[in-house]
Symmetry: C2
Subunit: 456 residues, 2 copies
């Protein structure tokens, strides 16, 4: 047994007690009355990092809640990683639905119940404990480690972009390892390698200068609702395939190897349909449901409105109609190029008798795809295979994870997810919990990962 493993085993009880202490701090970032608690949690983290033996530990101001930055440098010729996590938590409402108070951690059946246990305090403490074990047993880390632990992930990290930009040189690294992450199940590891990007648009259709009586005028002027319906119908085929010219131009084709990776991931279509209450799934022909969510772009109407929405009948021929759209994007689509393709489609397909505008809305996200041969991806896969006795699934997410885009844009590096939450752990909901098995497996995993990454 390696000496760091012995160290982890010897200090199990203390580490668990420390996590419980950390969980008692109600660091809810969205509630102003908890601002001091968020700061206290940051100070707790900073103190814990110092106790772990990291030589540089600082609480840095962001304009919002503070960031904890730490580093333990091992040598200029060694790789550098930046470990990311967060010490703020979600609110606890409805508090009446908690079996035990959210900030009084309690262990039941091998699970530690508390707000933030899984998202992200448990996961975030794991690499700190691993670093302590390595420092205490080996005297030094096998590579350069920086940690960036923030206090406002749950409110969308509003100051993180300028903070990263302001500290770009200090945060320079070869990759980010995100501890705000999870695994597929207790027995099946996974690596999140794709995120869809997004662009958002609004279409506004205007007809006559006022709402008109549908009897008196109907048959002589274009109805903006019909014009909008016709325009939107022209954008998608019956299976949801997008018919906007150029929409798929930059989509990286799915390789056979990548499709095999996705095919390995368990997907129970019957359970999925039952969960959503639909009789059949729907989507682009030629792709599996997981391929369609993780690796194919979409165009969806998010909102549609115009005319009369009340009870009964109003014989109005309205003079405006509106729709909001988002496109979910995959590598290597550009949100700006796709938005322009949609705008061009609107220009070319505007029905007669109305004026149509199509504006890009805020909410852009770049699609993200971690290369399969990225050293962090390769190393994480090897370590997960050792830990679980089986290779990880390569998974994606249909939504965006803004920090991945931030790290790529500002620091120019990919983010490798390496965390141990599981999807059933009720983050953001009452009775959030974290498995103690994940807490211990994670510590071993981080010790192995740091050594594996040091080998390049």
């Amino acid at each position: 047994m390696s000496s760091w493993q012995s160290y982890l085993d010897e200090h199990r009880e203390r580490f668990l007690a420390e996590l419980q202490e950390f969980l008692r701090i109600p660091s809810i970032s969205s509630l102003p009355e908890h601002a001091e608690d968020v700061r206290s949690a940051g100070e707790w983290v900073a103190a814990r990092l110092r106790a772990a033996g990291l030589p540089t530990v600082e609480l840095l101001e962001t304009g919002g809640h503070p960031v904890v930055y730490a580093e333990a440098l091992a040598g200029a010729d060694l790789p550098t990683i930046l470990i990311y996590g967060h010490f703020d938590v979600q609110p606890v409402d409805p508090v009446a639905l908690w079996s035990t108070p959210p900030f009084e951690p309690e262990i039941r059946d091998g699970r530690l119940y508390a707000r933030g246990a899984s998202d992200d305090k448990g996961n975030m403490l794991v690499p700190i404990l691993a670093i302590e074990a390595l420092l205490k047993t080996e005297g030094r880390l096998p590579l350069n480690v920086k940690l960036l632990l923030e206090g406002q992930e749950e409110i969308g990290s509003p100051q993180l972009a300028p903070f990263l930009a302001a500290h770009r040189e200090r945060l320079a690294c070869d990759m980010v390892i995100s501890a705000d992450n999870g695994q597929w199940s207790e027995t099946e590891p996974s690596l999140l390698t794709t995120l869809r990007g997004m662009c958002a648009l609004q279409i506004d259709v205007r007809g006559a200068n006022t709402d008109l009586h549908s009897g008196i005028y109907g048959g002589t002027v274009q109805n903006p609702l019909h014009a909008l319906v016709q325009l939107l119908a022209s954008m998608r085929g019956p299976d949801g395939k997008v018919l906007v010219d150029g929409f798929y131009d930059d989509v990286r084709p799915l390789t056979a190897a990548y499709r095999e990776h996705i095919a390995r991931v368990p997907f129970d279509e019957e359970a999925y349909k039952a969960q959503l209450g639909v009789e059949e799934l729907f989507g682009e022909a030629g792709y599996t449901p997981l391929e369609r969510i993780w690796a194919r772009p979409t165009l969806e109407i998010n909102g549609l409105w115009g005319g009369f929405q009340g009870e009964g009948t109003k014989t109005v021929l309205p003079n405006t109609a509106h729709a909001k759209l988002t496109c979910r994007l995959v590598a290597d689509q550009s949100p700006a190029r796709v938005a322009e393709a949609v705008r061009e489609h609107v220009r070319r397909h505007t029905p007669p008798g109305v004026r149509v505008t199509c504006e890009v809305l805020p909410g852009t996200a770049q699609p993200y795809r971690l290369p399969e041969d990225h050293p962090g991806n390769v190393a994480a896969a090897e370590v997960l295979t050792e830990l679980y006795g089986r290779a990880p699934y390569y998974t994606g997410s249909g939504g965006s994870v803004p920090v991945c885009e931030l790290f790529q844009n500002v620091l120019g590096v990919y983010t490798v997810g390496f965390g141990f939450a599981l999807d059933d752990e009720r983050f953001h909901a009452p009775d959030e919990f974290y498995r103690l098995s994940s807490f211990y497996r994670g510590q071993e995993g981080y010790c192995r990962l740091l050594h594996r990454l040091a080998r390049g």
Copy 2:
């Protein structure tokens, strides 16, 4: 000069003074505080009918505002007409926009300004004065005349249907002559011969059992907004032609003679576009704008909604979508048959992955078309030609006139419009007025019409 014409000339001043007296009664049917005024107006009308010499005059209760009924029967072998009008008026808000108080009639430049002057007290008094002139100068009327003058037209005649049903035998007639009507211009007469009918429907689309995140689920389930858009787009061609199977089955074809009638009616397309603020008109190929409004059916979305309608972006894949539709119908379409055709279209074109319902809403109206050879139509046209020195335009209305449908359904007779309002007389708006020329011409017109109708 006929003796009735001399009588009309002799009593011009008195008749005008009587109209002004009638207009001073603020008989606003929609405001409860004016209920007694509506009744007073009815009593004024009843007294005026008695003074005119009608042997039977009654104020009848309806459950709402009263009705005035009168009759002067001339002989069982003679035709019977029922003259319709109303003595209630619209509210006067915004009262500050009136040049003179709405219930203090004032004559300026040959126009009598007051609420109700044109709609419908002036028009309604005209046939009473004509009847007086005939009775006083000829001793009897040339045919059987009944009058039904109501006090709640401006609130949709809520008790008129049961009232007509309850008095069906007493109201029996060969046709209704509606004094609540107008002419094309001061120099151009017109006869309203077609009204469009209507049916109304609501379409509701349901997908998953809850709103979904468009990133996490988009690409695997049908979006009800897209399903609705696709369904609605399938109902109309690019020019608005309805693509619902069977929709046009019962439409009476436009005869060449009828199209010539419509073609005679002045229509200034540039002025119409400028009024509506549109750059081009829109509608079914092969028909003129007036044909499309008066003689062709339409299907219009009146309201459309689902998903997010606020500022910015919400990445929701909503689970419901809704639309309200009305179809405007022409002879001989049946609202029930057309509604069923639309429902069948919805059933046959429901996209996969959603459940769709299509329910008929209240608001049905039968289309109406007065036959060109109807004796009332022929007689009115002849009299208008004598009065104006030119033949009337045959016009239509794209909307419904509920009393026409009521008289047809309950009494089984057509309604011939014979009134002298002009469209610019600001009914329902501040500074409503009635032309004195219309007041006098109308009296002559009714004397001529009663004689003409008596000849059969």
